[in-house]
Symmetry: C2
């Protein structure tokens, strides 16, 4: 956030937004897909699969790590990455709950959204 900090919001929404933000770039989605496909670990292979420089991929990996979607450990000179099923499941569930709460028949008095 620019001027002021992003306080004043529900902790639930802040966490949810952080997860969504981590998914808010095609490169990071692609990285998750690569990790799922290759199963476990890798790193240089991800770079080869993406149209981005190594430094940029490393930054995206850091973001995914910070969101908790990815785990990484050092394996000799190379870095081993893999998905973190626990956090992914958490995020999936949180998003599902959000969408459920936004459903046409969740709490609104009007049966369907008549707007435009």
């Amino acid at each position: 956030m620019p001027r002021t900090a992003s306080a004043n919001f529900a902790a639930t929404d802040v966490e949810l937004a952080a997860w969504a933000k981590a998914l808010g770039h095609p490169a990071r989605v692609a990285i998750l897909r690569v990790l799922a496909e290759r199963g476990t670990c890798i790193c240089g292979e991800i770079v080869d699969d993406l149209p981005l420089a190594q430094a940029t991929v490393s930054q995206h990996l850091k973001a995914l790590k910070q969101a908790g979607f990815v785990q990484g450990r050092i394996d000799g000179p190379r870095s081993c990455y893999c998905l973190n099923p626990a956090t992914l499941a958490e995020a999936q569930r949180a998003l599902a709950v959000l969408f459920a709460g936004l459903g046409p028949d969740c709490c609104s008095s009007s049966p369907d959204s008549t707007c435009s």
Copy 2:
């Protein structure tokens, strides 16, 4: 994207990332919640419910509109906003498919992610 455009990515991932990006801020999640709660329309009420200035809320609404999550029409001097169930359902489904593809047992040879 800074220097270069964000091409070179699967159209699916670009669309998914755009949806996720729209959810990537607590204020926008809160706005969606308010719209779901109040049912249909509003605008100034959203401003009252958020710790943000009117202009900022309008910008977030524009982002949600651009993502397709929200519909808005003019109703006299005020603007009527409501959720767009169709796009929300699309995004929900796309995200569910993504998470399903990231599941521990989707295509990987290793049964579970053993990394850290």
